[in-house]
C-alpha cells in the first residue's frame, strides 16, 4: 500500500515533468468567450449588434438623453425634497465638472461596441458563408447609425468631443485613448458623410414577423430622420427638407399598405381629413372621449404590435414583465417621473403648469379661450406631475368646453415599460417646417409659408378635443412674417415634444443659427432668454444669473456660446491631457481651492 503512494507521487512527478509549462498555465474563462474564439459566424455579429442597442437603452444613456436634451430648459423643475443633488444642481445651473451627469462614458461604451462590430464583422463575412455581403452592409449601416446617433447627442451637449472611429481593444492604443476633441462642425460633417454612405445599405422594412423591429431598430427612415436633423443643425435647409420628405413619404406608404389590409370605419376617415394626409395617430375614442393617441404613442410595450403607431420612427423599447424577458425596465422614468409607490424627482415647471390653467394670454400653448388641446393634459397633471411615461392611459372627456382628464394604469415601481422615443413623425414635420421658415426669408415666400403652416396645423389639429372640427385653433392670418412663423414653429415643437428630451437642443440650435448674424439682426438670445426668463422660483433666479453672467463675460452676445454646452467631467480632464475644459465653466471646479 505504501509503495502505491510512492508510485502515485512518482507518477505525479513524472506528469509534472513532462507537461509543458506553458500549456499548464494557459486557461480560458468558462463563463465568457475570449476574442480568439469569437467572431466566427453571423450569430456573433448579431449578438454584439444587440449589445449596441442594449448599451443605448441602458439607464446611464437614457437619463443623459433626457437630461441633456431638456433639464436646462423651462420645462422641468425639482419635485419635493428628495431630489438627487446632481439633478438639483442642474436645475440651479450650478453644473460643475464633478456633477455625475457630465459623465459621457456610457455613450462611448456604445460607440466602442459599434466600432468593434465595424472592425470584426467584415472578417466574419469573409469566412461565414451564411453571412452575405448585403447582410454585412446592412449591419455596417445599422451600427454606423447607432454610433452617429451617439456622437450627435455628444456634440449637441458638449460641442467638441474626441471623435473615435476605431475600436479600442487594448490598453496600448494610446492615440485612440488620449485623443483631443474635434470641432462640432467637423464631427457633424463626418457624421453626415458617414450616414449618407451607409444610407443605401440600411434595411427599409423588417419582416412583418418581427413587428417591434420596425421602430425598435435602425431603418433607412431613422437614418433619414437623423440626416434631416443634422442638416438642420448644419443650416442646410434644402437638404433638411429633402430628407424630411423622404421620411414623411415612407411613413405615408407604410400607413397606406396597412390600411389596405384593414377596413377603415367612416368615422375615422372623417377625422383623418384634419391630418391633411399625414399619418399621425388619431386621438379620438368616441364623440366626446379622447386621449387614445397617448397610449398608442407613449405607452407602447415590447409585445404590442408596432402597427398601432405609424408615427414613431425610432424608439428604444422597454420591458415590464415581472418575470423579465431579460430586458430592463425604464428606470429613468421610474425614478424621475415617478411611479405608483414614489413621487418623481422632477415635475413640470410651474410656468408650464400655470400656462395650462390660464384662460388667455398663453405663451407656450396656443392662445385660445378653450382648453381643448389634449397636450394640456397628456404632458402633465394639474399638480405638475409628469404624465408622459408614468401612465399607460389618459382619458379625456369633453363636456361643454371643459375637458376632464382621467389618468390610469400608473406603472408600478421598477416595472415602467414606457418606450423612449428618439424620433417620431411630428418631430420631422416640424423640422421641415423650421427649414421652410428659414428658407422663406424676410420677404416671406407665400408658398413656403403655406406649406409650413399646414405642417404645424396638422400636428396641432390632431390633439384638439373636438369631434367635428369647427374652427382651427391656429389662424394662418396671424403668422404673416418670418419671425412670427418661426415662433409658431418653435412653440409647436415646445408643446408637442415636451418631456421628450428635445427642448434644450432646440434652444441651442436656434442660438447657434443666429449667433453670427450681427447685432442688428435677431438677437440669438431671444429664444433662449425668453426660455430662461420663464424659469421661476429660487432655481430660476440662479439659472438666470448664470446665463446673465456667462453672456456678460463676453464682449458681444455673438462671440461664443460655451455656456449653453456642458463641461467635461473632472475625470476626463484629469486623465486626458488633450482635453480642454469648456471655458464657460472655468476649470469647472472650485477655483478657490487650487
Amino acid at each position: 500500500m505504501k509503495k502505491n503512494y510512492y508510485k502515485i507521487i512518482c507518477a505525479i512527478c513524472a506528469i509534472c515533468g513532462f507537461t509543458s509549462c506553458s500549456d499548464f498555465l494557459e486557461i480560458k474563462p468558462q463563463d465568457e468567450i475570449i476574442l480568439e474564439d469569437f467572431w466566427n459566424e453571423k450569430a456573433d455579429v448579431d449578438a454584439v449588434v444587440a449589445g449596441c442597442y442594449a448599451g443605448l437603452q441602458s439607464d446611464a444613456v437614457i437619463r443623459r438623453m433626457l437630461m441633456w436634451g431638456e433639464f436646462r430648459s423651462e420645462n422641468f423643475m425639482a419635485s419635493g425634497t428628495n431630489v438627487e443633488g446632481d439633478v438639483m444642481n442642474v436645475f440651479k445651473e450650478n453644473i460643475t465638472a464633478k456633477n455625475s451627469y457630465t459623465k459621457y462614458d456610457a455613450f462611448y461604451t456604445v460607440i466602442n461596441r459599434c466600432n468593434t462590430v465595424l472592425k470584426y464583422a467584415p472578417d466574419v463575412a469573409a469566412h461565414d458563408p451564411g453571412y452575405t455581403q448585403s447582410e454585412l452592409k446592412a449591419t455596417i449601416a445599422e451600427v454606423s447609425a447607432i454610433r452617429d446617433l451617439c456622437y450627435f447627442y455628444l456634440i449637441r451637449t458638449f460641442r467638441n468631443v474626441p471623435y473615435v472611429t476605431e475600436a479600442v481593444t487594448d490598453d496600448d492604443q494610446k492615440e485612440q485613448i488620449e485623443k483631443p476633441a474635434s470641432d462640432f462642425y467637423t464631427i457633424l460633417d463626418a457624421l453626415i458623410a458617414d450616414l449618407q454612405s451607409v444610407r443605401g445599405d440600411a434595411i427599409v422594412r423588417y419582416p412583418e414577423s418581427y413587428p417591434s423591429y420596425q421602430t425598435g431598430r435602425i431603418t433607412r427612415d431613422v437614418i433619414d430622420a437623423m440626416l434631416c436633423e443634422m442638416y438642420l443643425w448644419k443650416k442646410d435647409y434644402n437638404q433638411c427638407i429633402y430628407y424630411a420628405d423622404q421620411v414623411i413619404e415612407s411613413k405615408k406608404q407604410i400607413t397606406e399598405e396597412r390600411r389596405k389590409k384593414a377596413t377603415i370605419s367612416s368615422a375615422i376617415t372623417a377625422l383623418e381629413s384634419r391630418l391633411d394626409g399625414y399619418p399621425l395617430v388619431l386621438n379620438s375614442r368616441s364623440s366626446n372621449s379622447f386621449g387614445i393617441a397617448f397610449n398608442k404613442i407613449f405607452a407602447r410595450e415590447f409585445t404590442t404590435s408596432s402597427t398601432d403607431a405609424d408615427e414613431i420612427i425610432f424608439e428604444l423599447v422597454y420591458d415590464n414583465s415581472a418575470a423579465g424577458n431579460g430586458m430592463p425596465a425604464n428606470g429613468c422614468f421610474n425614478s424621475w417621473f415617478g411611479n405608483r409607490t414614489d413621487k418623481g424627482q422632477v415635475m413640470a415647471n410651474e410656468v408650464v403648469v400655470g400656462e395650462a390653467q390660464k384662460e388667455s394670454g398663453r405663451d407656450i400653448f396656443a392662445n385660445e379661450t378653450k382648453w381643448t388641446d389634449s397636450r394640456l393634459y397628456i404632458n402633465f397633471e394639474e399638480d405638475g406631475t409628469i404624465a408622459k411615461g408614468q401612465y399607460e392611459n389618459v382619458s379625456l372627456t369633453l363636456s361643454g368646453a371643459k375637458v376632464t382628464a382621467t389618468y390610469s394604469n400608473q406603472y408600478t415601481k421598477d416595472h415602467n415599460s414606457s418606450n423612449w422615443i428618439i424620433y417620431r413623425l411630428p418631430d420631422i414635420m416640424l423640422m421641415k417646417a423650421e427649414a421652410l421658415v428659414e428658407l422663406m426669408g424676410e420677404s416671406v415666400d407665400e408658398q413656403m409659408r403655406s406649406e409650413c403652416f399646414t405642417l404645424v396645423n396638422a400636428i396641432n389639429k390632431r390633439w384638439l378635443c373636438q369631434n367635428t372640427l369647427t374652427a382651427d385653433t391656429l389662424k394662418k392670418e396671424n403668422y404673416t412674417s418670418q419671425s412670427l412663423m418661426r415662433k409658431l414653429v418653435m412653440d409647436e415643437r415646445h408643446r408637442e415634444l415636451m418631456f421628450e428630451g428635445k427642448r434644450w437642443y432646440d434652444l441651442v440650435r436656434l442660438s447657434m443659427r443666429f449667433q453670427n448674424m450681427g447685432a442688428n439682426n435677431i438677437g440669438w438670445l431671444d429664444f433662449l432668454s425668453t426660455a430662461v426668463n420663464r424659469r421661476t422660483g429660487p432655481n430660476g433666479s440662479l439659472a438666470k444669473s448664470f446665463f446673465k453672467k456667462s453672456f456678460e463675460g463676453n464682449d458681444t452676445y455673438t462671440q461664443n456660446m460655451w455656456s449653453l454646452f456642458w463641461p467635461y467631467n473632472y475625470d476626463e480632464i484629469t486623465v486626458n491631457p488633450y482635453l480642454v475644459q469648456n471655458p464657460a465653466f472655468g476649470s469647472g471646479m472650485s477655483d478657490s481651492y487650487k
Binding site: 498555465l25 442597442y53 418581427y210
Partner: protein
C-alpha cells in the same frame, strides 16, 4: 562531492539491477543460502524471554521477526541472507549482526552500562525552508512557541499574536461572530483594495487555496480569519512570523505581505495521552456614546425643523405626527410615545463554550495525534449563533529508517446563524420614541408583534422620514424573524512521503526527498429568508424574499522537494541546498437562487423554490493554476559567517504570455560576532551577538484571471435578441508588482539567552504598483482599466523586541518579560499626476466631507479640515443693532457673533458701514461655480478664518494631524510560582490622530437619526455658551454648515490596552493519583478588560487604510470577555 555521489549512486543502481535479475532468476538458479536461523538470547541474569529477533533489509525495514521463548530460544526463517539480524530487549543494548551463520548465541549487555553520550541538540528552523539551525538564521523572523500558552485560555491564534510580534498590527474588524481581524505586517504593501494586504498564512507548509467566485475583499478578511479560526490553538506547536524579503523569498509572489507560518503538533512516542479541555467565555461589547431618550429626541427634532426658517408655520408644514405626541387623530399615536433603548435591545452577553479532546501517542514505528473540538457561541448581538466542529488528525509511520509516510487530515464544519441587518448600526440611528412591539391601540399594552414604520400604502405619518427612519427595519424584529445562515465544510487532507536517499546522519552526505500532495476542499452554503413582517411594502416590490446559494472550491497542490546536506571533512564548513518544484491547480464554482413573494407566514417556508417568483439564478466558475520553482542554499563557516541565497520562479495564469514568469531572488548574510575568538572574554555575559543584513525581492500579482484576454460576455437582451458585449480592455503588458527590500537585524542574547533582544531596520520599495481601476479617458469605451502598473512606494521602519527566559528566578518563583515596539512610515515616491488627481478629492463644501490628499513624498494618512472655534453666541442682527461702544464692549467680553475680522482682530466693515457678516463659501466671480453663500447665524459653528478674507471657504482648510502612530507595540509579563502562573499582555499605540466621523454623525443634528446625548448641550438661544451648535435640519435651501470636518472631530488615538490577563493553576500528578489523572489545570482570563485612552469613541483601534486617513465610522468595538477553563490530562 559529485564524484562521491555518482559513485554511490552507480553502485546502488548496479546493485538493484543485480537484485532484480536475481529475483527473476531465483526459481531456476539455486545458490547456497541461509534459509533460517536459530539460537539463544541471554543476559547477565540468564536466558531472556520475550526478546525480539528480526530480519532487516538494507533500508532498515523489518522483513520478518520472532520472539524468544521461556528459555530464550528462537527460530526464525530468513528471506534473504544479505539482510541483517537484530536482537532487541527493553533495557538492553540492541545488537545488529549480518546473517552469515545459522546459529546465534548472544549475551546482551545492559544499556545502562553505556557511557553517557552528550547529544548536542541544535534547535532548527521549522517550516517550509531549509532546516537551518536557529543560530544560523540570517533573515528577519520571530517565533512564538505555543508552549508559552500551554494550559492557558487562548481561544484564537490572533489573540496569541496580538502585541507579541514587532511590526505586526492586528486590528479587530468587528464584534460579529466569525468576523475577522485585519493584519498588516510592516505597513501596507499595496494601496489597492483589490489586492490582498494580509500576510500569507501557511499551515504546515501549505497555503490554503480557497478562491470563491464573487469573492469580495471586504469578506476576505473574514476568510483569512476563518482560516485562523479553523485551526484550534490547542493544535498549534509554534508560530513563526517571517518579515523580510529574504525570509519570504521561498514564497515568491505569495509572500509579498509577509508570512505567518503555523506548525501544528504531531504525535510523540509514548503511551497514549488523552487531554480534554473546556473553556467557558462570556463576552460583551463596550458601549459607545450615550444615546438620546425618546423625549430628548422629539425635542431635538422639533428644534431642528424650526431653526432653519425660524418660522412655526414653515416648521409645521412638515407635519410630523410621529414626534408630536398626538392623540387619536393620528392612527399610529400609541407607537410613538416610548423611550426605547434600541442598543440595549439588540445587545446581550455572549457565551462561548469550547470543548477539545486530543489523543496522542506512538511507538517506534508510528505516532499519532487526533484532536476534535466542538465550539458553541452566542454573539454579543442578539440571535447570533455559531457552532463549529473541528478535527485534526496527524499520523506518521516510519516504513523504515529511510522512509516515513505521514498523513494529515483536518476538517472544520461551521454553522453560523447571522443577523440579516447590521443591527447595531440601525439601533444607533433608530428613533427612540418608537416602541419595539406594536401597542394595542385601545389599551396601549405591548402586543406580541413587532412594530415597523409603515413604508407604503396609504401613508399615515410624515414624509420627512421617507429616506431614513422609514427604511430602518425594527432591529429586534429582524434578529428574531429573519434567517441568514451560513454553513461551511472545510477539509484539507494531505499525504507526505519522506525518503532519505543517502546518509542518515551528519557524518554522511544526506539527500532527502519530500513529496506531498495537499488538497483543499471548501464548500459553503448560504440560506437566507427575509419575511414580510419586516417590510411593509407592496407585495410586488418584494416581500418574503429568500436566497439560497452554494459555492465550492477544490484545489490541489503538490510539492517535490530535494534537500542535499553535504558532509564536509572539515567540520568548519556546513552547507545545505534545496530544490523544489510546486504546482497548484484549483477551481471553484458557485450557484445561487433568489426568490420573492414566497407564500409564507411566520417564516414557515423559506426556500426560494417554494412557489414564489424566482428573481434571479446565477452561477459562476473560476479556475486558477500556478507553478513554482524554488532553489535555496545555505552556507556557514565555523557557525560564524553565514550566507543564504534563495531564488524562486513563479508562473501563474494571472498574466499573459509576455510576463507570465516572475523571478524573486534574495540574499542574506549573518555574522555571529560572538563566535569570534576576540569576543571570548564577554561570553559569560553575552551569549549571542550577531548582525544580519539581507536583500530580497518579492512580488505581487493581481487577484483576477484573464486580464490579458479580450472577453465577450452576455448583456441584457434587446427586443428578442440576445446580446454579447466586449467586457474588457485587454491588458497587454501588465507586470508583477515588485517589492525590493533591505533589512538589517541585530540579535543579542545575554546571560545564556535568558534575555534576548532583536533590533531590525528595514527599507522596502514597491515598484510597478498594481493600481486597481485607474480612470482612463472614457472615449476608449471603458472608463477604467482593471489594473495598471504605476507608481512607486516606500516603507521604512524599525522594530525592537525583547524576550526573556526565566529572567528573574527566586526559588520556585520566576518571572519573564516580553516587549516589542515598531514603527513604519509609508511614502509614495512616484505616481502619475492623473492618478493622483483621480485619488485626491475636491472639496464639495458639504457637511461631513473629509478630504483625501495623496501627495508624492508625503506620508499617507494626513487629516485636513477646518479649525473649530466653538459656537457663535449671538446673531448678526444683534451685533449690527449695537452702537460702536456696545460693540467694543461686546467683543471685549469675549462674546461672539458672525462678523468678519481682519488679521489684527478688528472688524471689517461693508461699504454701507455695517460690519461684514461672516459667510460660508461666497461665490467667487469667474470660478464657474455657485457657492453656498451661507450667512452664519448665532448658534452656528464658528470656524477659524485663517486667511482673514471674511468668509469660510476651502482656503481655510488646514492640516490637522497625521493618523500614523509614532510607535506601536506591546509588552507582557508572566509570573510563575510553583503551579501558579499569571500572564499579562498589553498593546499600545502612541501619537496618532483619528478622525471621529462616528461622533460627527452622532452630533450633527441634520437628519432624523438618533443622536448622542452630547447634543443636549446644544445652543438653543442667544447668549448660550457651548461647543455644540444648534440643531439644523438639512434642508436643501436652508442648510447650515455645522458639521464640516474640523479639528472638533480630530482626536488623539494614543492608547494602552490590556490585551489579556490570565491566571492559571495546575494540580500535579502526586495530588491526583487518587483519581488516576495525570494533570488538571485551571485558568481564568480576562480579555480586553480596559483601554487607557483620551479618545472619546468606543475603541481607538483604528488605523489608516489605503490612501485614507484613520476614520472611525462607528465600527463594532472589540468585545470584552471573561474566560474560565479547565484542562485535564488522563
Amino acid at each position: 562531492m559529485s564524484k562521491r555521489f555518482n559513485c554511490f549512486a552507480t553502485r546502488r543502481i548496479f546493485k538493484s539491477i543485480i537484485l532484480t535479475m536475481a529475483l527473476l532468476l531465483g526459481m531456476t538458479v539455486s545458490a547456497q543460502t541461509i534459509t533460517s536461523v536459530h539460537g539463544t538470547l541471554s543476559d547477565d541474569m540468564g536466558p531472556l524471554m520475550g526478546a525480539t529477533v528480526c530480519e532487516m533489509d538494507a533500508t532498515g525495514r523489518i522483513i520478518n521477526s520472532a520472539i524468544t521463548d521461556l528459555n530464550g530460544n528462537f527460530t526464525m526463517k530468513v528471506k534473504n541472507d544479505k539482510d541483517k539480524i537484530r536482537f532487541t530487549y527493553v533495557g538492553l543494548k540492541t545488537v545488529t549482526l549480518p546473517i552469515n551463520k545459522t546459529t546465534y548465541n548472544i549475551t546482551m549487555q545492559s544499556a545502562t552500562q553505556l557511557k553517557e553520550v552528550v547529544v548536542k541538540s541544535r534547535k532548527r528552523a521549522t517550516g517550509n525552508g531549509l532546516p537551518i539551525p536557529e543560530k544560523e538564521i540570517s533573515y528577519a523572523s520571530q517565533t512564538i512557541s505555543m508552549k508559552e500558552f500551554e494550559g492557558l485560555g487562548i481561544t484564537t491564534v490572533d489573540e496569541a499574536l496580538q502585541g507579541r510580534i514587532a511590526g505586526l498590527d492586528i486590528i479587530g474588524n468587528s464584534g460579529d461572530l466569525g468576523a475577522g481581524s485585519t493584519m498588516r505586517l510592516r505597513g501596507s504593501s499595496s494601496l489597492s483594495s483589490l489586492t490582498d494586504s494580509n500576510p500569507l498564512i501557511v499551515v504546515d507548509g501549505n497555503i490554503r487555496e480557497v478562491n470563491l467566485e464573487n469573492f469580495d475583499m471586504a469578506g476576505a478578511n473574514n476568510e483569512k480569519f476563518a482560516e485562523l479560526l479553523n485551526i484550534n490553538p490547542e493544535d498549534i506547536a509554534s508560530i513563526t512570523v517571517k518579515k523580510d524579503a529574504a525570509a519570504t523569498a521561498i514564497y515568491g509572489s505569495q509572500g509579498g505581505n509577509g508570512v505567518i507560518e503555523i506548525t501544528t503538533k504531531r504525535g510523540a512516542r509514548g503511551k497514549p495521552k488523552l487531554t480534554y479541555s473546556l473553556k467557558l467565555t462570556g463576552t460583551y461589547q463596550p458601549k459607545g456614546y450615550d444615546l438620546l431618550s425618546g423625549d430628548d429626541y422629539t425635542m431635538l427634532l422639533k428644534e431642528a425643523y424650526f431653526n432653519p426658517t425660524q418660522n412655526d408655520a414653515v416648521a409645521n408644514q412638515y407635519n410630523i405626527p410621529e414626534i408630536n405626541y398626538l392623540g387619536e387623530e393620528f392612527s399610529e399615536w400609541r407607537q410613538y410615545r416610548d423611550n426605547t433603548d434600541w442598543r440595549d435591545a439588540v445587545t446581550q452577553w455572549g457565551l462561548r463554550q469550547n470543548h477539545y479532546v486530543t489523543i496522542s501517542g506512538g511507538g517506534e514505528k508510528a505516532s499519532f495525534r487526533v484532536g476534535g473540538g466542538f465550539d458553541h457561541e452566542t454573539g454579543t448581538m442578539i440571535e447570533q449563533k455559531l457552532n463549529r466542529f473541528s478535527t485534526r488528525v496527524a499520523l506518521d509511520y516510519n516504513v523504515s529508517q529511510r522512509i516515513r509516510v505521514s498523513t494529515n487530515f483536518a476538517l472544520t464544519y461551521t454553522k453560523n446563524d447571522r443577523n440579516s441587518d447590521g443591527l447595531l448600526a440601525i439601533a444607533l440611528k433608530k428613533m427612540p420614541n418608537m416602541s419595539i412591539y406594536e401597542k394595542d391601540p385601545l389599551t396601549g399594552e405591548d402586543t406580541d408583534s413587532y412594530y415597523n414604520m409603515l413604508q407604503s400604502g396609504p401613508y399615515k405619518g410624515s414624509e420627512v422620514f421617507k429616506g431614513d427612519q422609514r427604511t430602518y427595519v425594527n432591529p429586534v424584529a429582524s434578529a428574531h424573524l429573519a434567517k441568514n445562515q451560513q454553513r461551511t465544510y472545510d477539509m484539507s487532507p494531505e499525504l507526505i512521503i519522506n525518503y532519505n536517499l543517502l546518509g542518515l546522519d551528519d557524518d554522511h552526505w544526506q539527500l532527502n526527498y519530500r513529496g506531498s500532495v495537499y488538497m483543499n476542499i471548501y464548500n459553503q452554503y448560504d440560506d437566507s429568508f427575509y419575511p414580510q413582517e419586516l417590510k411593509t411594502v407592496n407585495w410586488e416590490d418584494g416581500v418574503n424574499t429568500s436566497n439560497t446559494g452554494s459555492s465550492k472550491s477544490v484545489s490541489i497542490n503538490t510539492k517535490q522537494t530535494f534537500t542535499l546536506i553535504p558532509a564536509f571533512k572539515n567540520k568548519d564548513h556546513s552547507a545545505m541546498f534545496m530544490g523544489r518544484f510546486e504546482l497548484t491547480s484549483g477551481s471553484s464554482s458557485s450557484q445561487s437562487t433568489s426568490g420573492k413573494g414566497l407564500p409564507s407566514t411566520d417564516g414557515a417556508i423559506t426556500s426560494p423554490a417554494a412557489g414564489g417568483l424566482i428573481n434571479s439564478v446565477s452561477s459562476g466558475y473560476n479556475q486558477w493554476r500556478s507553478m513554482y520553482y524554488t532553489f535555496s542554499a545555505h552556507y556557514a563557516y565555523k557557525e560564524r559567517y553565514i550566507a543564504d541565497f534563495t531564488v524562486r520562479a513563479d508562473g501563474t495564469t494571472k498574466f499573459g504570455p509576455n510576463n507570465r514568469w516572475g523571478y524573486f531572488p534574495s540574499v542574506s548574510l549573518r555574522w555571529n560576532i560572538i563566535e569570534e575568538p576576540f569576543m571570548k572574554w564577554i561570553k559569560p555575559t553575552v551569549s549571542m551577538f550577531a548582525i544580519r543584513p539581507s536583500w530580497g525581492r518579492v512580488g505581487n500579482q493581481p487577484n483576477q484571471n484573464y486580464l490579458f484576454t479580450s472577453k465577450y460576455g452576455s448583456s441584457s437582451r434587446y427586443l428578442d435578441m440576445a446580446s454579447m458585449i466586449p467586457k474588457n480592455i485587454r491588458l497587454t503588458d501588465l507586470k508583477w508588482q515588485i517589492n525590493t527590500s533591505y533589512n538589517v537585524g541585530i540579535d543579542m542574547g545575554f546571560f545564556k539567552d535568558r534575555l534576548s533582544i532583536t533590533i531590525e531596520g528595514y527599507h522596502s520599495t514597491i515598484t510597478d504598483m498594481l493600481l486597481s481601476n485607474p480612470t482612463i479617458p472614457s472615449n476608449a469605451g471603458f472608463p477604467t482599466l482593471p489594473y495598471k502598473n504605476s507608481g512607486k512606494m516606500r516603507n521604512i521602519g524599525w522594530e525592537f523586541h525583547v524576550n526573556t527566559n526565566k529572567l528573574v528566578q527566586i526559588g520556585k518563583f520566576f518571572m519573564d518579560v516580553n516587549a516589542n515596539f515598531g514603527n513604519n512610515r509609508n511614502e509614495i515616491l512616484e505616481m502619475e499626476e492623473s492618478i493622483l488627481d483621480g485619488l485626491n478629492s475636491k472639496f464639495g463644501y458639504e457637511n461631513g466631507e473629509w478630504l483625501r490628499r495623496v501627495q508624492v513624498h508625503n506620508p499617507l494618512g494626513a487629516i485636513y479640515g477646518f479649525k473649530y472655534k466653538g459656537v457663535y453666541q449671538y446673531n448678526y442682527s444683534t451685533f449690527v443693532n449695537m452702537t460702536d461702544a456696545e460693540r467694543q464692549q461686546f467683543l471685549a467680553e469675549g462674546k461672539t457673533a458672525p462678523i468678519a475680522m481682519n488679521a489684527d482682530g478688528s472688524i471689517i466693515y461693508e461699504v454701507n458701514g455695517d460690519p461684514k457678516r461672516m459667510m460660508y463659501d461666497y461665490t467667487l466671480p469667474g470660478s464657474g461655480r455657485t457657492g453656498k453663500n451661507y450667512k452664519f447665524q448665532g448658534g452656528d459653528a464658528m470656524y477659524e478664518d485663517l486667511n482673514h478674507d471674511g468668509q469660510i471657504n476651502a482656503l481655510d482648510i488646514t492640516y490637522l494631524g497625521s493618523s500614523l502612530p509614532k510607535l506601536t507595540g506591546g509588552f507582557g509579563f508572566s509570573f510563575n510560582y510553583k503551579a501558579w502562573r499569571l500572564n499579562t499582555q498589553f498593546t499600545y499605540r502612541v501619537g496618532n490622530k483619528i478622525l471621529n466621523m462616528a461622533r460627527l454623525n452622532a452630533e450633527a443634528m441634520t437628519g432624523n437619526d438618533n443622536q448622542s446625548q452630547a447634543v443636549n448641550y446644544r445652543w438653543r438661544k442667544e447668549g448660550d455658551v457651548t461647543t455644540i451648535p444648534r440643531a439644523m435640519h438639512n434642508f436643501t435651501d436652508y442648510q447650515a454648515y455645522n458639521s464640516l470636518v474640523s479639528d472638533r472631530y480630530v482626536e488623539d488615538g494614543t492608547y494602552l490596552r490590556m490585551s489579556y490577563a490570565q491566571l492559571s493553576y495546575a494540580l500535579n500528578k502526586k495530588q491526583l493519583t487518587w483519581i488516576g489523572l495525570n494533570r488538571i489545570s485551571f485558568f481564568a482570563s480576562i480579555n480586553n478588560p480596559f483601554v487607557l485612552t483620551k479618545y472619546s469613541g468606543v475603541d481607538p483601534d483604528i488605523v489608516n487604510s489605503g490612501y485614507d486617513p484613520a476614520i472611525d465610522n462607528a465600527q463594532t468595538p472589540r468585545s470584552r470577555s471573561y474566560t474560565l477553563g479547565i484542562t485535564v490530562d488522563f
